[in-house]
Amino acid sequence: MTPETPKPDQHRKRTLINLLLICVCTSSLLTLLLLPLTDSSARLNARQVFDSSRWHSLQLQLQTYRLMNYLSDLSAEDLPVNGNAYFQYDLVLSRVDLLRKGDLGRHIRNFANGRATRLLNIISGELELISLNIEHLENGRLDQVPIIMARLRLLDSQVTDFVVIVNQGANDYVTNKRAELDVQLEYIQWISVMLLCLSAGALLITFKLAQKLRRALRYNYNLERQVQAIRRGKVEVIGRMTNELKSSLTGIISHLSSLQQHSTEQAAKDVLEQSISQNSLIQTQLDGYHDLVLIEAFQLQPNVHEGNVRDQLEYTAHALEHIFSAHNIRALCHVDPRLPTLVDADYQRLHEMLTLLILNLAPFCTDAELLINLRPSKLPLLHQPAKHGDKATKMVQIGLRDAGAGLPEAIQTGLRANPFNPNNTVLSQIEQMGLGFTLCHYLIGALDGELHFTSSSGKGSEIWIDLPLGVGTFVAEPETTPAAQSIAILNSNTLLDQGLQALLEPRYTVQCLSEEELAILALNTTEAPFSWLLISDKATLSAAQLEYVTQLQRLSVKIIWCSTLAQQHPDVDADAVYHYPITLSQLTTLLGASD
């Protein structure tokens, strides 16, 4: 055995994982810190470039000189100036406005402790005063030019001061911003170094963890191999045990059969028959348990071969006869006529599956009817190959419908669970719903089938098992041809009515008869419209009913009823007696033999 991983190693692993998580989280936080820093840098940089206060202050000075230039060039010939004086004046004022408003205005406001703004206000005020002189000039008074020129010359020093202050302020501003950027760059450098260290740490931890992961994978691989070896061993041991037990059981069955043949007493024969049946059942159960071990070890190989699907189903049903008898289950077995006779299937597993399912279902449908149906399924093929040999694979449904007590909640929960979910171990499934249901559930899954069910307390259950079988093609519904014989089924208001009808309809003309109709027919008719009367699911008949039956017999109607009624009314000579499970071959034999 491989020794268990030592605890200190696990502790170290956990510490490394925690360290890695811390590294990743810290890196993420640091990266987040980088975002506002870089964003701020971009903003500062953009502002520094954009805030071209120097340019605009110089433009103010330039426009002032242009105004002066314009005025100095004016002569009497240029009059009237037609708004040109205002135009030049407005160009100067537009620069002043620009320097006072918007981002630029806010920016300049802080230069030289507000001196720039004060100067700009003075310049603006002086220029506003000139507007009156400009107006006179526009009105043709050339004498205003020297006045305006004098005022502008006085303003010149203030404009120059303003330009100098703005220039110095802009320089200081840029220097401050650069200092801020330097600090931020320093932060970024520190953060980058920390990120580098963290990345190195994370790399180291990842390397260490990768080493440990490699070791753990190797350890897991060895464990898997061990598990496989244990499973193989288990399969081997269980296989041997099964073979030995089966050979013993086969010996017992052959002895019992021999005894049964030589026995003269009916009671002894019946007991021996039951013993043979039980031993056969034990054999089937043993095969099932062996299969469960094979499924667990992923070694189950379906043994698919061609067979008569009707015969196989009836064989399984008959093998369970004593179970039906013990629980007083009125079982009926029906194969849909659309299914071809020869179908490719793993019949051994099908037999195991149905046997175990019915065996485990029987306690919950005591004294009730059970319909076993084999019919084409509406489910599509999903993962199965489209063909098996030369036959196309089709989904076929086995339906089990009973009118019993319903399945307990634990079994329902177990059946709803996916058998191949790693959390649903075989052991937990067995603890929940018993060995039989578990095996059946796993076997359906192993044969690529699906199980669905519905169950209602006191009303019974219906289980649908959809399996992919090599069917070829489904036969179309056979056309109804006039049957030689007509059969009336006395209504019992149970599931058997519809089961019997479905079973007999392809071969006989079937009509259902209520008790009132039976009475009317027996009392008023001289010729019955049917040749057989089938009485199902009755434990006993009343005197009146017996009278009607006798009356019908007088009208040449043959009576077929179940063995219970035959035992209850030995005085009535029925033409045929059927046993549960009802199958088509049994009914065909009985109806044919009595013709």
């Binding site: 953009a46 470039v49 954009f50 433009q59 330039l62 426009q63 242009r66 135009f87 407005d90 160009l91 004022l93 537009s94 406005d97 620009l98 408003k101 918007g102 981002d103 630029l104």
Partner: protein, 171 residues
């Protein structure tokens, strides 16, 4: 004979020139924009001159945005120079705009076609005075395209435009 030929040639050139000029009407008001360069139609020697009324005849476009040189959001109305150049059958991909203070900038025509920039002549429902950076200014929709808030587009946002020169720059 030679004299007759030269007279005829001169008359022909004059007629053709008159025809080219006749396609574009004369401005009746103050000229606020002079277009020159690779254009086919003129209404003055080497130039196509426009007054307000002529510019307002062009399809009008609107932009509501905030600019760095104005407080708050303002509504601008103006024209797309592509429409103007189409009218002049101009051939070019760049316009060189000159302001009253002789500031010059070059704006690719794609800025007007793809970014929806305009040359605005109205701000908040009124003509833009010279004092307030009028009468013509290039406006980009900085609110719709925040990525334009950089020096390149701020530099192209020229105001107090007085002339436009159409030229083709190598592609």
């Amino acid at each position: 004979m030679k004299r007759l030929f030269w007279n005829t040639l001169t008359m022909l050139c004059a007629t053709l020139s008159m025809h080219a000029m006749a396609v574009l009407e004369e401005p009746s008001g103050n000229v606020i924009l002079a277009v020159s360069g690779n254009i086919e139609h003129f209404n003055s020697p080497q130039q196509a001159q426009f007054d307000f009324a002529m510019l307002k005849q062009l399809p009008a476009y609107e932009i509501t945005t905030q600019t760095p040189w104005e407080e708050g959001v303002h509504h601008y109305v103006g024209f797309d120079p592509s429409d103007l150049l189409e009218q002049l059958e101009a051939d070019g991909n760049v316009i060189r705009l000159t302001a009253f203070n002789q500031y010059i900038t070059e704006v690719p025509l794609t800025d007007f076609e793809e970014l929806g920039a305009i040359i605005a002549y109205q701000m908040d429902g009124a003509d833009i005075p010279v004092r307030n950076k009028g009468p013509l200014m290039v406006i980009y929709d900085f609110d719709q395209y925040p990525e334009l808030r950089n020096e390149t587009y701020y530099g192209r946002s020229i105001w107090q435009i007085q002339s436009m020169h159409v030229l083709t720059l190598g592609e």
